[in-house]
């Protein structure tokens, strides 16, 4: 559906995107994930046509759209700020693109009513000013405005970042439902890993203008292909050589010339230890209570290690209490050690 081929973007001397190659399938919910300044929004703007790449091509359904002007690309965008026109009513905002296309008034009215219905906007809300709507409703208007012109692709640039935590989770689910209903190819930009993991069919993880990994949420989370992805997604423990040596004593699987990581939920903390895993004694150093789970920091003779334990309401350990920490060699993710200066 969308293919980015060797895309490079430069801002003066700064290389914002360096030889980006990625393919998005028809109907896919594809997410660009990465920290601020990594190039994800720049890539989105290249696809939409706001930025012309220094080199490389953008293909949509096999057609090279790199030289096509923004207004002729047929790509809908939901902006981070929603970019709703404040001087227009909700109805006029949604109808804007149709009016520009000089459609008949009756057709515009029909299309606006239809799209409003599909994104759950009432007739009454259509007559309101955008400033009279809540954040969630404004997001719906932005989506409706982007979809009403029936674009081939919809791009969303951190559309949930302006909302409070609770609404964000609620709208995240709605967004996914809407995308499935419309069946439209969606490119979603976010720096929020949880958002990316819950929404996406596939994720491209960006770092310093390059794509580090493209994969399903499970691939990216459990089989991170680079040290950056492994560190960026989820919380993680880096294993010290002393602990690696101990794990190897139990099961010699880890190379000593590599850097090893283990996710917090893969570290077991209990009183009796786990069979088939390295089990070492430790003392509870700190405890963070999250309700559904508890995060412990445990001091072992080898290193301090953090772990997440499901809150069963029974096994809640006190500070200073002795526990057993179990780690399986299979759960460890290993990467080649960085050379000096890297």
């Amino acid at each position: 559906m969308i293919r980015l081929e060797d895309i490079t973007v430069k801002f003066n001397e700064f290389v914002a995107l360096d030889n980006i190659n990625v393919q998005v399938k028809e109907g896919e919910f594809f997410t660009f994930l990465g920290p601020s300044g990594c190039g994800k929004t720049t890539t989105l703007r290249v696809i939409a046509g706001f930025i012309q790449p220094a080199s490389g091509k953008v293909y949509v359904r096999g057609e090279d759209i790199t030289p096509v002007p923004i207004e002729e690309r047929n790509i809908g965008i939901v902006f981070q700020s929603y970019a709703l026109f404040p001087t227009m009513t909700v109805r006029d905002n949604i109808a804007f693109g149709l009016k520009i296309k000089k459609m008949k008034a009756a057709d515009i009215a029909e299309k606006v009513a239809d799209i409003a219905n599909r994104v759950d906007l009432s007739q009454e809300q259509l007559g309101k000013a955008v400033s009279q709507l809540s954040g969630g409703q404004q997001q719906r208007v932005a989506i409706a405005r982007a979809l009403v012109t029936e674009p081939a692709i919809i791009c969303m640039d951190e559309p949930l970042s302006n909302l409070d935590a609770k609404l964000r989770v609620q709208l995240r689910n709605e967004l996914k439902r809407m995308q499935q209903n419309f069946g439209i190819t969606t490119i979603y930009v976010t720096h929020d890993q949880e958002e990316a993991l819950t929404l996406s069919d596939r994720i491209a993880v960006f770092n310093k203008g390059v794509i580090e990994q493209v994969g399903t949420p499970n691939e990216v989370y459990n089989h991170s292909s680079t040290e950056f992805v492994c560190n960026f997604i989820g919380d993680i423990n880096q294993l010290e050589p002393a602990l690696v040596a101990k794990i190897n004593e139990a099961k010699p699987l880890l190379h000593t010339n590599q850097t090893h990581y283990i996710r917090l939920e893969r570290v077991a903390v209990n009183q009796e230890g786990n069979e088939g895993a390295l089990t070492i004694k430790g003392l509870i150093k700190s405890r963070e209570y999250y309700g559904m789970y508890i995060k412990y920091t445990v001091q072992t003779p080898a290193q301090t290690i953090r772990a997440i334990v499901r809150n069963d309401g029974v096994s809640i350990y006190e500070l200073g209490q002795q526990v057993q920490v179990s780690i399986k060699a299979e759960d460890v993710m290993s990467y080649p050690q960085k050379e000096a200066g890297q």
Partner: protein, 634 residues
């Protein structure tokens, strides 16, 4: 071939035309006339008719010309002190301290926003000059009181002090309202007493605003025109206007002297504004608060201090309000009541506003003579009506032109950050020049048929002067319009433009359908404020001093003279009062439209519309019910 066709693209032709127009306007109407004024200084001739380039400079140091400069400086320095004392007082009293009747007091202190310049000075004269209502009342009560007390330096200082505090009421008031109250609470919590908080926490945050206000007040004092002219004080601007109208036959090289004084004024302005902008560039106090708390008014607990605070506030209120109330009241009084300086509560009239009446008076021969239509209302007097018409048309055209030029320019400035800077500085250029210099330069430079780029037409000749006034008004209003409209442009989120383009809109459609509607309230506000200022503008009209460009302010100023002489102009004082009331209404209406109606966003407008609809339905429903009941009863 390819190069040629590329250059023939419509946008390139449009760009080239724009560049040509910009160069024409900038050099033709900003640079050349003023450079001509500068050269006038050095083009003097001695008695023998030989060129003597430094004659006027020698004259300046040898003669009394320096007095005008010193007087203007004296006025400017004096005003900096008095305006700041009164301005800071009125703002603190209404915004910072908890005082009884603050709302009423604020309204009183803000009256200078709706009448200023000639309207205000003539209003003050109406009360305080040797024939004024209050002076007469005072003299009747205390015969030893000097009837001419309200003239010269003291009168100018008094009038301008209260006239100029309107800037404090606008800008210092905003600065105080923006103070984060948490900082005040924090200081109190750390043991500071209220006065200490005011001096150590509140004042430092106001210093940038106060600095700007001080510079603006200084420039206002230096460039004062209407007050010194009407109250008789020898300062630079009235002297420039006098010299501009003088001839070589009357005195030594008057034009060169006027030019020199204009340039001196410009140098002062340039130095002050450069200092101000350097200070502004240094950066200011910025609130680091993420959750700003609204200022809670501070109560003075010491009963003596509290009593003093109230007495001071209300004395100022009386000073501000007396002219306003008296002018409004006397504008509805008959000419005989005004002449007797007594309020005739049983005899009110609208004659000062509308209609005409004959006037019979006793001649020196002991016979009565009737002068037809000698008593005329503001809207029935040909001169006044003519002034209003001229001012209305010229101000409206110039205010609109300034807005159109600036909107187009700002769009270019935001799109072309580097090249836009040149355009921005060119539009801010008139700020460096006193308005008097610009007008004087236009008057002398375009008073010839030698200026090729205006088609060798004398623009100072007959009706052409109106075009010259429009150009001058527009040029003078460009810097203010630019600052205001540019600030409004910052409110346009870049993503809105991206969104419009993404939805298929081209450059022009994005401008007309998305950007312009967003900035339109600000553009209309700038138009209204420009119009307001120009409608009662006196300085420029007086500098042009043409019978074809007699503005409303000039008519108002002329009303102070020759009242009732030979049975003419009988109710000039009444019409003057009515004029001031009219100016107040126009200004008040403009301010209401700008800050009241214009400030509403679409949401508020729709909510208001809905409210009105509901109210209408309620009334219709009630009427329907009543009708039904009646029918049933029948």
């Amino acid at each position: 071939m390819r190069t040629g066709s590329r250059w023939l693209k419509p946008e390139n032709i449009f760009r080239l035309f724009g560049l040509g127009l910009f160069i024409y306007l900038f050099f033709g109407f900003m640079i050349l006339p003023n450079v001509n004024t500068l050269t006038q200084i050095f083009s003097t001739k001695n008695a023998a008719g030989e060129a003597d380039p430094f004659a006027v400079i020698r004259f300046f140091f040898a003669g009394s010309m320096g007095t005008y400069v010193l007087n203007s400086l004296k006025l400017a320095i004096g005003l900096v002190i008095t305006v700041n004392v009164v301005g800071i007082s009125v703002v603190l009293l209404t915004e910072y301290f908890d005082i009884k009747g603050a709302r009423i007091l604020r309204m009183g202190y803000m009256t200078t926003l709706i009448y200023s310049g000639v309207a205000l000075v003539t209003g003050y004269l109406f009360l305080y000059d040797n024939n004024g209502i209050l002076t007469t009342a005072l003299h009747n009560a205390y015969p030893h009181v000097d009837k001419n007390w309200f003239s010269g330096f003291n009168a100018v200082m008094f009038t301008m002090t209260f006239a100029t505090t309107s800037n404090h009421m606008l800008f210092l008031r905003n600065a105080i309202r923006n103070i984060d109250f948490n900082t005040v609470e924090a200081a109190r919590n750390l043991g500071a007493r209220p006065m200490k908080v005011l001096l150590k926490v509140v004042f430092p945050t106001l210093i940038p605003t106060l600095f700007s206000l001080t510079v603006m007040t200084f420039i206002t004092g230096l460039c004062a025109m209407s007050a010194p002219t009407l109250l008789g004080f020898d300062s630079i601007n009235p002297e420039i206007v006098r010299l501009a109208g003088s001839s070589v036959a009357d005195e030594a090289f008057p034009q060169a002297r006027a030019a020199l004084l204009s340039i001196i004024l410009a140098l002062f302005t340039i130095v002050l504004l450069t200092g101000l902008s350097a200070y502004e560039r240094r950066g200011h106090y910025l609130s680091v608060s993420k959750t700003k708390a609204k200022l809670v008014k501070q109560k003075i607990h010491n009963p003596i201090a509290r009593a003093f605070e109230h007495i001071y506030a209300y004395v100022l209120f009386v000073i501000y309000m007396t002219p306003v109330v008296m002018i409004i009241v006397f504008s509805f009084q008959t000419y005989s009541a005004i002449r007797m300086k007594t309020l005739d509560l049983g005899n009110w009239t609208l004659l000062n506003f509308f209609g005409k009446a004959d006037y019979s008076y006793l001649t020196s021969r002991g016979t009565y003579r009737v002068r037809e239509g000698a008593v005329s209302g503001l809207f029935s007097n040909a001169d006044t009506l003519g002034g209003i018409r001229i001012s209305f048309i010229l101000s409206a055209i110039a205010a609109a032109l300034a807005c159109v030029i600036v909107v187009v320019a700002v769009n270019y400035i935001f799109k072309n950050k580097k090249k836009g800077v040149i355009l921005e500085y060119a539009l801010l250029f008139p700020w460096l020049l006193p308005t008097i210099l610009i007008c004087y330069s236009y008057r002398t430079y375009f008073n010839s048929t030698d200026v090729w780029y205006v088609g060798n037409t004398n623009l100072y000749y007959m009706q052409n002067v109106r075009l010259l006034i429009i150009i001058a008004y527009t040029v003078v209003k460009l810097p203010f319009s630019l600052r205001m409209i540019k600030a409004a442009y910052y409110a346009i989120d870049d993503e809105l433009e991206d969104a419009a383009r993404n939805l298929g809109a081209g450059g022009l459609a994005t401008m007309m359908k998305v950007k312009l509607p967003i900035i339109l309230p600000s553009v209309l506000a700038v138009f209204a404020l420009n119009f307001n200022a120009l409608f009662t503008e006196y300085d420029m009209g007086a500098t042009f001093a043409s019978s074809y460009g007699t503005t409303y302010a000039m008519v108002m100023q002329s009303m102070t003279r020759e009242e009732g002489l030979y049975g003419f102009n009988v109710n000039a004082s009444g019409r003057r009062a009515a004029s001031t009331v009219f100016v107040m209404i126009v200004s008040g209406l403009v301010l209401y439209l700008v800050y009241g109606v214009g400030a509403r966003d679409l949401g508020e407008r729709l909510a208001l519309k809905e409210k009105r609809r509901q109210r209408r339905q309620k009334v219709l429903h009630k009427l329907g019910t009543k009708k039904k009941t009646k029918n049933l009863a029948a």
